[in-house]
Amino acid sequence: MKHMFDYYLTTIKIAIQTQFQYRVMQYFYMIGMIAEPVIYLVVWSTIAVEQGGSVGGYTPRTFAAYYLVWTLVRNMNIVFTPYGWENRIRSGWFSMDLLRPIHPLNNDVAFFAGMKVVMIILWIPLGLFLSLWFKPDLHPAWYQVIGFFFAIWGAYLIRTMLLSVLGMITFFTTRVGAIFELFFAFELVFSGRLVPMTLMPPMVQQVAAYLPFQWTFYFPIEVLVAPMTIQVMLRGLGIQLLWFCLGWVAARIMWRFSVRQFSAVGG
């Protein structure tokens, strides 16, 4: 336990130092990323105004709150993608990770966790600017702020497991980009990334209830944005934990079968 704590802490420090080396690039990346929710926000705000002030209970200012928190949640749930898996397996770089007496997934989790620290620091001025511009309606209770902290890390861990399982397919096919695009399409529809889930057709909401996607976007956003009782919030955090555990088991099983396929291509 002490060993793993030391490893995580050291990797996080390394990640922070590495990310600060490319802070300007990171900033431009973040500005590009913020374009997506700002477009959603402008479109839905316009629709809300034209429909007499709100759509499905969302006013322009509650939309502003949703998409502002969206930007933070999105920063938090960026994880090592299947493209990364594809690249490191195809290039043979993965060999060096496999030689270490620590499972490579630990490196992915720790390194990206370190990146979050830099991303949040860089996000703060952008978040302030967006708040001043769009004036979000955001009044969370104290327990929601605490719950949000856990919810964004839950989202991060669930997404890490999901995309790692997907990435491990590369052991079999060497190319997994096409499958990732399919995953991305599902995520867009069923996660609340495109639009709050309550605005989706009932059938989509019913299907989404059985999928992990909304626990990586919609739930953490709602924890901070929507009025929510402690009980509902804790139940949601529990479901996040469940999805993380399922993802972890799936990743372990997938790893067991897939690593045997590693042919150490390209070195």
């Binding site: 030391d6 490893y7 390394i14 043979g92 060999s95 030689l99």
Partner: protein, 330 residues
């Protein structure tokens, strides 16, 4: 001495798709895919004792790296068995991985954007090295490899040779008992090669580590390895002392003779390889060496004469070419 590495009929076969070039073949492969099995490593067996430094030789594609990857747990063997330090490498147990290292000349584990010291600290955490021991080992390696001026520079700003020295230092911080070195001096200049050789030798002597080394530079092998294992097309061709490889495969010797006269005709003594002024090099069958030497001394005004084995590169080349003992040419 105890056997640290044991290979028993170890094989690795790869099934690779094959098809002709062109659009027609490309469409055809959608319906009927053909595969070919490549025997990268084919039933090789050998043992290596604790503290041995063994040269693992073979031309490109011989199966050297595949064998090293199986021994370090990166690849699952198709058949046969291999153990390292009593562990089955493919099980990739932490206890096993903590006691070995694989250095590949074309791969790096240091963080590109940061000074190597940060990567060293990460390696300390990965291998759970006690802080005092880590500092002692790190500083010792920094001294031995003369890295003091370099460890604070970002890795990306180091030259290839400097980076390689840093990689090797990083790979040995946890003091592995078994070193798999795959072309550790690849692309380095002679000075850097020499320094890395000296370091490997020092590490071997100081810690009693077992080393299996592949290199295309015979100087590495000659400097470090008493024993060599030669592999070609996945099959083991030779396993024994470097000297006996030369004895077994070199059927000729080289006689270097310096005369007091120029333009001497030495064809009747053996095959003339080269001439530089009054210095001549002759190739003669090993069995005739003594007799030819005596005749040269008796017939000609000789200033200097020496008899040498052929260069090890030539012997190895002959082994790769499928030569049998007695067929080696120089």
């Amino acid at each position: 001495m105890s056997e640290i590495i044991i290979l028993n009929s170890l094989s690795k076969h790869f099934k690779v798709p094959v098809r002709e070039s062109g659009l027609k073949a490309s469409i055809g492969s959608l319906f009927k895919r053909e595969y070919r099995t490549i025997k990268a490593v084919d039933e090789i067996s050998f043992q290596i004792d604790q503290g041995e430094v063994v040269g693992f030789l073979g031309p490109n594609g011989a199966g050297k790296t595949t064998t090293l990857k199986m021994l370090s747990g990166l690849l699952y063997p198709t058949s046969g068995k291999g153990t390292v330090l009593g562990f089955v490498p493919s099980q990739r147990q932490s206890q096993f991985l903590s006691q070995i290292t694989l250095v590949m000349g074309n791969r790096q584990q240091l963080v590109w954007d940061l000074p190597a010291l940060d990567s060293f600290d990460l390696l300390r955490a990965i291998y759970s090295i006690p802080t005092q021991e880590f500092i002692r080992t790190r500083d010792e390696f920094i001294d031995l490899l003369e890295l003091k001026e370099l460890v604070n520079k970002p890795v990306r700003n180091l030259s290839l040779g400097e980076r390689m020295k840093m990689e090797i230092a990083g790979s040995l911080l946890h003091r592995p008992k078994v070193l798999f070195l795959d072309e550790p001096t690849l692309g380095l200049d002679v000075t850097m090669q020499r320094r890395i050789r000296a370091f490997v030798s020092e590490y071997n002597q100081r810690y009693g580590a077992t080393v299996l080394l592949t290199s295309h530079y015979m100087a590495d092998v000659e400097a470090l390895c008493k024993r060599v294992i030669v592999i070609h097309n996945g099959k083991l061709l030779f396993d024994g002392e470097l000297n006996s490889l030369v004895e077994q495969f070199a059927a000729f010797k080289t006689i270097g003779v310096t005369l007091q006269i120029e333009n001497a005709d030495l064809r009747k003594y053996g095959q003339a390889i080269s001439q530089d002024g009054t210095r001549y090099l002759l190739r003669v069958p090993k069995a005739d060496t003594a007799q030819v030497t005596a005749r040269l001394l008796a017939d000609l005004p000789v200033d200097d004469l020496n008899v040498e084995d052929p260069p090890i590169e030539d012997v190895i080349e002959q082994v790769f070419a499928g030569g049998k003992p007695g067929e080696v040419t120089v």
